[in-house]
Each structure stands twice: as structure tokens, then as C-alpha cells.
């Protein structure tokens, strides 16, 4: 090459153009490759084990999959500045989005995702905390009115009104595009929380289910075990049936079994906020249905009466003021050593695991909810009411919907970080949350919990998933469950008999169905039955 050679203007421009084109092409190829590489979650390692539970009422087949931890979508090109408005429960449920105490070391592990979404995806989330007690009216007022929220996080109890009412954007297309693995969800969440009429409209944010918690250390105490055996002629174990549950609760009521100088009690359940749920654990385990295909309520009625009678009996073994106990007071009853058992949400395990309460970590054991012997077989169902799901509202402009979905996907991907924490009220909803791959995150979020304790909790959580039974998802659900709860309370206070309570509920439910339009309700309920059948929990 001669250094003395001079280039013509044409040669210089041509060379520059070729170099520029090469850079652009390389950039595009690299960007697209990076986009798909980043957008795809790690291919899950799937170990499949099929369990079949057969009862006289129905056969439940569940496939328990061990799925590796999902990876966060890093390296995805930013979408450009976009603002997404969000509404979510106030207080601790807001922590996965915004948490001022979140820190890489210590603090609240795994929370505060909104700033990270902004940093990586360029999506600015403007969040609003909503009072959970009135969120239904707030959301419906917005959906039927100004439509300012793009994403709302709500209880699937409202699915009938929100999804059935046509207020959510279907997500199937985005789920396919972004390759979200819905097989990671237990059927009850996949089909009942997130779908309506065969389409997927939501992704889970919180996977509520009921579990039985018991004082593992107290149950293991040899003096207490001897005392129990002497009285009842059998070993003290976490109860498998509601009759055993009653017996164990009776045993632990009215004396100081933990040596703290205070009288303790057998058990406690959440009567204040979600009365119908604790009834439904029992009723579903007797083979009960919210409605049959012809919209006959609480079928079979005699099973509903039996469930309520048992619920009334167990209240003799609860602490004073239990009717005023909401979820937090119920959790505290375990973690402050007031009761030996509780039948409640998944939060108790991680709360004990956080080490912030007197009863810590391994002192609390988790088990599958009790059930009933139906036709010679043990039937156990865990009510999966409440929970939370995330949807994109129909008011979200078309051009923002994909960005909104990317926010949902981010929360889906990062859920394995924030779900294990007992501080935020969000509970496991995916098999990957309860697989050994998630263990490291559970340990980081729960320093007072041993590995064995965490694995025990994860196993029990997966078991309760597999026995999950949904809440009532139908327009007017708030009205149906309000009536049921009020009559249950009247029966618990012995104002009316359980039989009377159920017959009045059935009568009122028929009236509500008629008011809302019998044929319309029947059509919508039959759409729900499709999801029940997909989940494998509708009687054959």
C-alpha cells in the first residue's frame, strides 16, 4: 500500500457507506439476536411426576412439575420512554413494586421491582396504592369511568365482574410471543385465577391457598405427646380430618402448653374478613359445589349444613375475640404463641421464617388442610380464594399494551425473588416457587428458617396447590359471598341454627341469581365450569 496514494472523494464516500452499512447490519442482527435471547426464559428443566387422587366425588389428577428457576429478562432493548399506570393493594402488598427498604444486602430481599423495570426496560410505572377493603368499588368505578389505570392488581374473586364484564385485554397472543410457560402454574391458578371462557386474561401476583400450620416444637414435646395419647388413644399428629382437627384443638385449649404463663388455645381462623372461605374449605372437602350446572346453590345442601356445623363447633377452641380476627391477627396467633394451630393463608410460614416474631422458623410446621372421609376415601380441598392477579385494562391504548405486558412479564419472571418474603403478603403461585431451585431465594428472604423447614413448607405449599379449590368467580360474587358470610356469622353466634343459615343463604342466592338474570348467570357459570373441568376439579 502506498502511503502516498490519494483517495478520490467518490472512493471515500463509497468506503464510508460500506462501513456504515456493515455496522447497521451487524447492529440489527446483534440486536434481534439479543432480543430473542433475552426474551426467552431459560428452558426449564422439567421433572414430571403425576399424582392421581381418587375420591368418590371426583378424581383429581395433578401433574407436579419441578421447574427450574425462571431467569429475569435482561439484555432486552428498551421500549423507549413509556409510562404505565398501576393500581395495587396498599401497604405490604405494594412492596414488590415499590419498597423503600429494598437493598441488595439485607433489607427486604427481592422487592422494589418498578425502578428496575424503568432502568432496564425504560418503562416508567406510576403506581397508586388502593385500600383492599374498597378496591372493588374503586376499580369498578375506574373501569366503568375514567379508565386511568393500565394495570390493576386485584383479587380474582372479582373475575366474574372484571373478566366476565369484558374489562381486561386477552393475553394469549403476548403469552405466546414472550413464551411464558403457563405449565408452571397449578391448574386451579392457571384456569380459575387467570382465565375466563377459554382465554387467558391475567397473570398471577399472589397465590393464596389455605394450609394447616401447627407448632412443630410443641407437637414434638414428649410430655405433651404422652398426655395426648393418654387422653385420646392415638399419637399427636397434624390432623388429617376435621374430626381430628377438632380433637387436637380441644386438647390444646385452656392451658399453658408453652410455659409462658398465659393460657393458650387450640386454633383460630379468619372469621372477620373472609368468613365464606373457611366454610368452603370444609364444604368443598365434603364434595360441595358453589352451584351445580343448573345454578342450584350450595349443592349438596346437607353437606353445606355439616360444614357449617363443624365450623361452629371449632369456635369453642378459639381465643377470645376471634370473630374480630382478620388475617393479620390470625397470623399473629401462631407467631405470638397464642394458638397451637391455625388454618389460614400461606403467609404464616414465611412470617415465622423472617425471624421478626417470637415464634420463629422451624417452630412452625406446615401441612395439607384436613378433609373428610367421603365414600371411604379422604377428600381434602384447600380454598384458593383471594390471591391476586394482574391484568391489562381495556382502557390501555393499543400502542401501550405490549409495554404493559412486558411489565407483567417482568413481575412473572422476578416473582421467585419476591414471593418467598413474608413481608409482602404475596404467596407462592407457581411450581417453580416451590421447587428446590428456588431454595436460595427462600433462604435469603427468611434468615430464621432452616433449609429443612423451608423445604417442608415448599412441599406443603405444592401439596395444597394440588388440592386447590377456587373461590366463586361469577358476576355478583360479592353479593353471594356477603350473604353467605353474614348467615355463617349468625350461626356461629348461635342466633340461628346451621340448617337455618344454609337454607336462608340458598333462598337469598336464588333471589340474587334471579335479580342478576338467571339465564345470563347460568351462561357465565357454565363458562366457569369449562375452567373447572380444565383444572380437573369438576365432578365426573
Amino acid at each position: 500500500m502506498g502511503f502516498g496514494r490519494r483517495f478520490s472523494r467518490r472512493e471515500a464516500i463509497g468506503t464510508a457507506a460500506k462501513v456504515a452499512a456493515g455496522v447497521v447490519i451487524a447492529g440489527v442482527v446483534g440486536g434481534v439476536a439479543g432480543y430473542y435471547a433475552g426474551a426467552t426464559t431459560a428452558v426449564p428443566t422439567v421433572k414430571t411426576e403425576t399424582k392421581t387422587v381418587t375420591a368418590a366425588a371426583q378424581t383429581i389428577t395433578t401433574t407436579v412439575r419441578e421447574v427450574s428457576t425462571k431467569t429475569v429478562t435482561a439484555g432486552v432493548p428498551p421500549t423507549g420512554p413509556v409510562t404505565i399506570t398501576l393500581a395495587c393493594d396498599a401497604g405490604h402488598n405494594y412492596l414488590p413494586w415499590f419498597d423503600p427498604k429494598e437493598a441488595p444486602e439485607g433489607g427486604h430481599y427481592g422487592q422494589n421491582q418498578a425502578p428496575k423495570i424503568k432502568e432496564v426496560l425504560g418503562i416508567d410505572i406510576v403506581g397508586e396504592e388502593v385500600d383492599p377493603g374498597t378496591e372493588f368499588s374503586i376499580y369498578m368505578a375506574d373501569l366503568t369511568g375514567p379508565g386511568k389505570y393500565n394495570i390493576i392488581v386485584y383479587f380474582p374473586t372479582y373475575n366474574g365482574d372484571i373478566l366476565g364484564g369484558g374489562w381486561a385485554v386477552p393475553l394469549d397472543e403476548y403469552i405466546k410471543k414472550y413464551r411464558i410457560n403457563l405449565d408452571d402454574l397449578p391448574p386451579v391458578y392457571r384456569y380459575l385465577y387467570c382465565s375466563w371462557g377459554g382465554k387467558t386474561y391475567a397473570l398471577p401476583y399472589d397465590g393464596d391457598f389455605h394450609a394447616l400450620y401447627y407448632r412443630k416444637d410443641v407437637f414434638a414435646n414428649s410430655d405433651i405427646r404422652k398426655k395426648f395419647k393418654d387422653k385420646y388413644g392415638r399419637d399427636l399428629e397434624p390432623p388429617k380430618t376435621y374430626d381430628e382437627y377438632l380433637q387436637v384443638a380441644e386438647f390444646f385449649t385452656g392451658w399453658d402448653w408453652d410455659g409462658d404463663g398465659e393460657v393458650e388455645y387450640g386454633t383460630v381462623e379468619d372469621f372477620k374478613d373472609l368468613t365464606w372461605g373457611i366454610f368452603f374449605d370444609r364444604f368443598a372437602s365434603l364434595g360441595g359445589l358453589w352451584f351445580d350446572e343448573e345454578m342450584n346453590p350450595l349443592v349438596p345442601n346437607d353437606a353445606a349444613v355439616k360444614a357449617l356445623e363443624d365450623l361452629v363447633k371449632i369456635t369453642d377452641y378459639m381465643p377470645p375475640g376471634f370473630l374480630e380476627f382478620g388475617a393479620l391477627e390470625v397470623f399473629d396467633s401462631m407467631t405470638k404463641g397464642i394458638t397451637a394451630m391455625t388454618l389460614t393463608w400461606p403467609d404464616v410460614g414465611p412470617r415465622a421464617g423472617s425471624g421478626e416474631f417470637p415464634v420463629k422458623g422451624d417452630q412452625v410446621g406446615t401441612a395439607l388442610v384436613p378433609g373428610y372421609i367421603v365414600g371411604g376415601k379422604l377428600l381434602r380441598y384447600s380454598w384458593t380464594g383471594v390471591g391476586r392477579v394482574m391484568i391489562i385494562t381495556v382502557h390501555t391504548p393499543e400502542e401501550k399494551r405490549e409495554a404493559a405486558f412486558r411489565v407483567l412479564k417482568w413481575m412473572w419472571d422476578t416473582s421467585v425473588y419476591w414471593v418467598p418474603s413474608g413481608l409482602n403478603g404475596e404467596d407462592p403461585f407457581a411450581y417453580s416457587h416451590t421447587s428446590p431451585g428456588a431454595l436460595s431465594h427462600w433462604k435469603k428472604a427468611n434468615p430464621a428458617w432452616s433449609e429443612e423447614g423451608i423445604l417442608d413448607y415448599m412441599r406443603a405449599a405444592a401439596e395444597n396447590f394440588a388440592h386447590g379449590y377456587p373461590d366463586l368467580y361469577l358476576p355478583g360474587a360479592a353479593q353471594y359471598t356477603d350473604l353467605l358470610s353474614r348467615y355463617i356469622m349468625m350461626a356461629v353466634r348461635k342466633e340461628i341454627s346451621p340448617k337455618d343459615a344454609i337454607s336462608r343463604t340458598v333462598e337469598e342466592w336464588r333471589r340474587v341469581t334471579k335479580d342478576l338474570g338467571e339465564e345470563k348467570q347460568k351462561t357465565l357459570w357454565r363458562q366457569q365450569i369449562v375452567e373447572y373441568k380444565r383444572a380437573g376439579i369438576w365432578p365426573k
Binding site: M140, E324, P475, Q479, M489, R493
Partner: protein, 295 residues
């Protein structure tokens, strides 16, 4: 408007206020009335109102839950207002004569009035909660649960829900009667009261035969305000009991709230509101006539 043959400018000056008042008072009432004759299931996207005549009214008049809620409201009215008046009058009479520290003590008495219903409900809920609350604590250490015949401590809010709500309401609104009646007492001509005292009239008789008749209008107006307020009571029962247990403390406005915002039966809720307004109007009119209140 013409006054004395000249155009009056007064009407023009009050016109803006009339327009605003029409917008915030008349329009909502008229819209509510319109809704009460419709059926409109707002939960479904694209749903529109459908005229159904008086069907909602017929439903309301056979709604036992609505009548139960009205009975709870009337129960609250029958206890809360007389007791608030009685305690407020007692305090006003005690504070009528000046004494050292009267002003400071007045501030403490007025404190509950500054709180919102929600805060009052929360505070009373915490005070009454078993195991953790001070009421239960003192009942236990003084052995009062046993004395009253209870085998174990009970939850006062769930056993006597209306009574606890009324107690919280009395705590909050007695200061209202106190301050208004105190102002009324302060405006009375002292010469008449002193003359009666010089003539040897007993204190009780001075209050009964001189002060109370002179305060009649003031008492009447405060009672009307509180009667109307009781019909609107929502915050206390909502925070303390949510209308439970069962239907034990579901007052009228709480039931209407449930119908409108929990069950989304907005047109039925509108109907119940109209009926409630009619009920309040009747009660107030009966009171005004019976009390012979003059305006």
C-alpha cells in the same frame, strides 16, 4: 326582580351561587331519581340503562334487609341523640360558670369532634378488642368478666355491636351538643337567671323553667342536625363492624353503600336513597311540628 319600581341587583349577585348549588344539590338528586326508575348493570361493558318503572320501589318495599337496616338506624337514633344531648347539656351547665382551667378542659372535651368517623372507629375498635385492648385488660384484672357472669372474656364489639357503635358515636358527638348549648347558655340574659336565684329558685328549677325554654330554638336546631347525621351514619359501623356480625349493625347508609359499590346495583341503591331521603324528611317534619320549632 323589581323592588319599588327599580330593578333589584340582588338576584344577579346570588345567581352564581344558585347555579353552583343547583349543580351540586339539585342535579345529583334529579339524576338519582332518574336512576331509581332504571335497570343498569354497569359491570358489563357497553351496558345501558333500561326503564323499568317502579320495579325498584316495589323490590325495596319487600326488602327485609333494607327494613332491618332502617330499624338499626332508628335504634341508633333513639339512643345516641338523647344521650348525646343529655351529656352535652350536663357538660354545658358544668362549664357555664367560669373556673380555673375551663378553657383548657374545653379543648380536651372538643377533641373527639375534630376526628373523622374512620379514626374514631379505629380507636374504639382498638380500645374494645379482646386480649389486646385496655377495656378487656381492666375487666380482667378487676374480675369484672366473672362478676358479670361470663365464663371467659367476650368480644364486646361482636356481642353488642350496635351498642358499641352508639357508645363511640356518643363519645364523638357529645362535644357538639356541649359547645352549641354552652354558646346558647352564654347568650341568655343573666339578669333573669340572677333574679330567679335571688328569689330562691333551686338550681334544677332555674335550668328547667328558665334556661331550657329560652334555649328551645337552639336545642331544636341541634337536634335536627344530629337526627339528619344519624341517618347518614356510615364511617363508624363500616370501620368497626362492616355491618356485622350477620346483619346486626348494618345501618341504612351502609346497606346502600353495599348495594351501590360492593354489589354494583347502582340503580337499586339510588331507589333506596330516595326512600331514605323521604324517611328523613318525614321524621324531621314530624319533629318540627311536635317540637313546635319556629323558623
Amino acid at each position: 326582580m323589581r323592588i319599588g319600581g327599580q330593578k333589584s341587583p340582588y338576584f344577579i349577585f346570588i345567581l352564581p351561587s344558585l347555579i353552583i348549588l343547583s349543580a351540586i344539590i339539585v342535579f345529583p338528586f334529579v339524576f338519582n331519581l332518574y336512576l331509581s326508575f332504571q335497570k343498569w348493570d354497569i359491570r358489563f361493558r357497553g351496558a345501558t340503562p333500561e326503564f323499568i318503572g317502579i320495579t325498584n320501589y316495589l323490590k325495596a318495599f319487600s326488602d327485609t334487609r333494607f327494613f332491618n337496616s332502617l330499624s338499626k338506624t332508628l335504634y341508633m337514633l333513639s339512643l345516641a341523640v338523647p344521650l348525646e344531648f343529655f351529656f352535652g347539656l350536663l357538660l354545658a351547665l358544668l362549664f357555664y360558670e367560669p373556673f380555673k382551667g375551663r378553657r383548657l378542659l374545653s379543648l380536651f372535651i372538643l377533641f373527639p369532634l375534630a376526628l373523622s368517623d374512620a379514626v374514631v372507629g379505629l380507636v374504639w375498635g382498638l380500645v374494645l378488642v379482646p386480649t389486646y385492648g385496655p377495656v378487656d385488660y381492666f375487666m380482667r384484672i378487676l374480675g369484672l368478666w366473672d362478676l358479670l357472669g361470663f365464663k371467659k372474656p367476650i368480644s364486646l364489639v361482636t356481642t353488642y355491636p350496635m351498642e358499641m357503635i352508639i357508645m363511640a358515636d356518643i363519645w364523638q358527638w357529645t362535644p357538639f351538643f356541649y359547645i352549641v348549648l354552652l354558646a346558647g347558655l352564654a347568650s341568655l340574659p343573666r339578669e333573669i337567671i340572677e333574679a330567679a336565684e335571688i328569689d330562691g329558685a333551686a338550681r334544677f328549677n332555674v335550668v328547667r323553667y328558665i334556661m331550657m325554654p329560652m334555649l328551645k330554638q337552639v336545642i331544636g336546631v341541634t337536634l335536627i342536625i344530629r337526627i339528619t347525621d344519624i341517618f347518614k351514619t356510615f364511617g363508624l359501623p363500616y370501620v368497626m363492624t362492616k355491618g356485622g356480625p350477620g346483619f346486626a349493625s348494618e345501618v341504612a347508609s351502609l346497606y346502600i353503600f353495599n348495594q351501590a359499590l360492593q354489589f354494583l346495583n347502582v340503580t337499586y341503591a339510588a331507589t333506596l336513597t330516595i326512600i331514605l331521603i323521604a324517611a328523613i324528611t318525614i321524621v324531621i317534619n314530624v319533629f318540627i311540628r311536635g317540637y313546635r320549632l319556629k323558623f
